[in-house]
Symmetry: C2
C-alpha cells in the first residue's frame, strides 16, 4: 500500500463506498445508517461466514489493492460455496494505515467486480485506522436441510476436488524464493474463483464438503474428524495446472498440491452412485471435478503413491499461527 | 497484549472459542463448519451491523483483554440498539500478534459476558495472525417498518439522549495527559453499556435515532443530514456524571460532552407529544433520558449556551482518520 494522500475522513470513505454499492430488492436499508436492514426469503435458512485477510499474512506485500479487494470477498464466498449456499449480502470492515481514497477506489474495483459476478450487495461495515486488514462477513441462503456440512461423509464415499491444486502455494513459493512468479499461478493466488455454482449443484449429491483454504490434507482432515471416519488420497490423481507442472518437479509439485493452502477449490465426498451426476455438474459449470480418493473406516487422512506406498507430508498444511 | 506463549494453532483457538459459545434455538449450525446456519423468525426483518476496534486507535494500549472483548461486542450492539433491533447472533474475526490462548480466554470472558446479557450467540468467525484487531458483525431482528433510522427527524421534534455524555472522552483525556484516570470514567470507556432495551422501546415513539460514537454533535449532524433538517442543542442541558463534573471544569466538560466520542448512548428525536411516554421508558429501563434540544428548519447543528449565544466547538467530533 502506497498512500498518496494524508487521508480522507471516515465519513468520506464510507460515502465513496456507499455510492458504488449495488442494490438488491431484498435490501431494505443499505449503507449509511447505524445498521443495514435486509429481508431473508420465506422458507430459507440464512448462512453466515466471516473471514479476515491481513497484509503479509494472507497476501504478499506487493499485492495490488484491487486484488486484495477481490480476495477478501473471494475467501468468504468460498465458504458459502462449500455450504452450497446462494450468496446475497456482505459487510466490509476495512482497517487502513491512512484514509487513502485512491487506494480505497482501487480496492473496491476488485471487491465490487467479484460481488457483481455473484449478485452480492455490500450493505455495511466500517473503515478504521490501523494496519491493513480486511474483514468481510457474507450472507447467503439455503433451503432447510440442504446445506453441505463437513460431518456427513460415509465410508466408501469417493473424494472429489474441483479445479486444480497447488497453484496459489506455487506462486507463494516462487515469490518467497525471489523467483519470477508465473502469472497464471499468481492470478490463482490473487484472484481465487469461489466455486459458488458448483457448490450449489453438488449439494444434491454430495455427503460432505469443505473448501481448500488450509491445504487439501488439512481440510479433508476437518471433514474426517467431523464425520468420524478416515480418508485416502491418491497423490498422482491430484489435478495440476500446466503452469504448476512446468514450474515444479513432481515431488515439490505433489507437496504443493497436497498441503498448499489458498486454492479455494471445493473438496467433497459422494457415493459412487453419484459419479455420472458429478460429471454432468462439471460440464454444466465448466469446472473440472476430479476423483482423488475415498473415505475409509478408521481415522486420519493418508496420501498414497500409485504403488500404494504412503507419502509423508513435509507439513500438515498451512497454519496461520506457526 | 502480553503474549505468554508462542502461540496456539488457529484450530485450537477456534475450538476454545467454540466450547464456550452459547446456544440458541434458532442456530441450526454454529462454530465449526465453513459457515453457520441460522433461522430468522417468520415476519421479521434482519438487521446487520459490523464494527472493528483496533489497538491504540479505539482502545488504549493498556486495556485489559476482557475489556477489549466487551467493547468489541458493545460497539456493535449499540448499533443494533440505535435501530431498535433485538440482538440474536454475532461473528468474531480476531487478529492477534500471537495465538496466546490465555489472552483469548480473558478476551472471551468479557465478550461472552456481554453476549450472555443480551442472549447473543457467537456463531462463527476466524482467528488470524496480525496486529491486534477485533471485527464483529452482529445480527438482530425488527418488525417490518419498525426500525429507527437516521432519516425521520421532523422540525419541532425534541432531541433526547440517554445516560450521560463525555465520560469516555474524559477518561481518554486523563489517560493521554498522564493523569490518574477516574475508575468510573475508565469503566465507561472500557465497558460501554449498549442501550438495547431503551432502543427497542423508543422505536414506538421516536422519529429518528443514532448512537453516540463519534461525539454528540457529529452524530446528531448525521441525523440532520439524513433528515434534511437542522438541530439545536442546549449545552447546559447535556447530562453529566458526577465523576465528570468532579474531574473537569465546566468549559472542558462541555467540550467533552458535546464532541467526545465513545459514549455509546442513544440520541433520538421525538415529537413533544411523546414526552410522557419517554419518561415512562426511562423509568422502565432504569436509564436516564434527558431532553437536550430541538429539531429546526435549515441545516447544521448548533450548540447554544443558556443565554442563547452559540458555543463554538473546538473540533467537529472524533474523527478516525485525522
Amino acid at each position: 500500500m502506497t498512500p498518496t494522500s494524508r487521508g480522507a475522513p471516515e465519513f468520506e470513505l464510507i460515502e465513496r463506498i456507499r455510492r458504488r454499492a449495488a442494490a438488491r430488492d431484498d435490501v431494505v436499508l443499505g449503507i449509511g445508517d447505524d445498521a443495514a436492514i435486509v429481508q431473508v426469503p420465506a422458507g430459507r435458512q440464512l448462512v453466515i461466514a466471516a473471514d479476515t485477510i491481513n497484509r503479509g499474512v494472507h497476501f504478499p506485500d506487493n499485492t495490488a489493492p484491487a486484488d486484495i479487494g477481490w480476495k477478501a470477498l473471494a475467501v468468504n464466498l468460498s465458504d458459502l460455496a462449500a455450504m452450497g449456499a446462494e450468496p446475497a449480502w456482505c459487510t466490509l470492515s476495512l482497517s487502513l494505515p491512512t484514509g487513502d481514497a485512491a487506494w480505497v477506489d482501487a480496492f473496491l474495483d476488485g471487491f465490487l467486480d467479484l460481488a457483481a459476478q455473484h449478485h452480492v450487495a455490500l450493505i455495511g461495515g466500517d473503515t478504521t485506522r490501523g494496519p491493513l486488514s480486511v474483514s468481510v462477513t457474507v450472507h447467503g441462503f439455503v433451503e432447510p436441510g440442504r446445506a453441505l456440512r463437513r460431518s456427513g461423509a460415509c465410508v466408501g464415499d469417493d473424494v472429489w476436488v474441483t479445479g486444480t491444486l497447488g497453484d496459489a502455494a506455487g506462486a507463494l513459493t516462487q515469490w518467497r524464493g525471489g523467483a519470477v512468479v508465473h502469472p497464471l499461478l499468481r492470478s490463482r493466488l490473487d484472484r481465487p474463483a469461489p466455486r459458488v455454482a458448483t457448490g450449489a449443484l453438488i449439494t444434491a449429491v454430495a455427503h460432505a464438503g469443505v473448501d481448500v483454504s488450509d491445504g487439501l490434507l488439512a481440510d479433508l482432515q476437518h471433514v474426517c474428524v467431523a464425520s468420524g471416519i478416515g480418508g485416502e488420497i491418491d497423490l498422482e490423481a491430484l489435478p495440476a495446472s500446466a503452469a504448476l507442472i512446468a514450474a515444479f518437479d513432481p515431488q515439490r509439485r505433489s507437496a504443493l498440491q497436497a498441503t498448499g493452502g489458498d486454492d479455494y477449490e471445493l473438496c467433497f465426498t459422494a457415493p459412487a452412485t453419484a459419479r455420472e451426476a458429478i460429471a454432468r455438474i462439471a460440464v454444466e459449470t465448466g469446472t473440472p471435478i476430479t476423483r482423488i480418493g475415498r473415505i475409509t473406516a478408521g481415522h486420519g487422512v493418508r496420501a498414497l503413491h500409485a504403488d500404494g506406498s504412503e507419502w509423508i507430508a513435509p507439513s500438515a498444511g498451512f497454519v496461520h499461527f506457526a
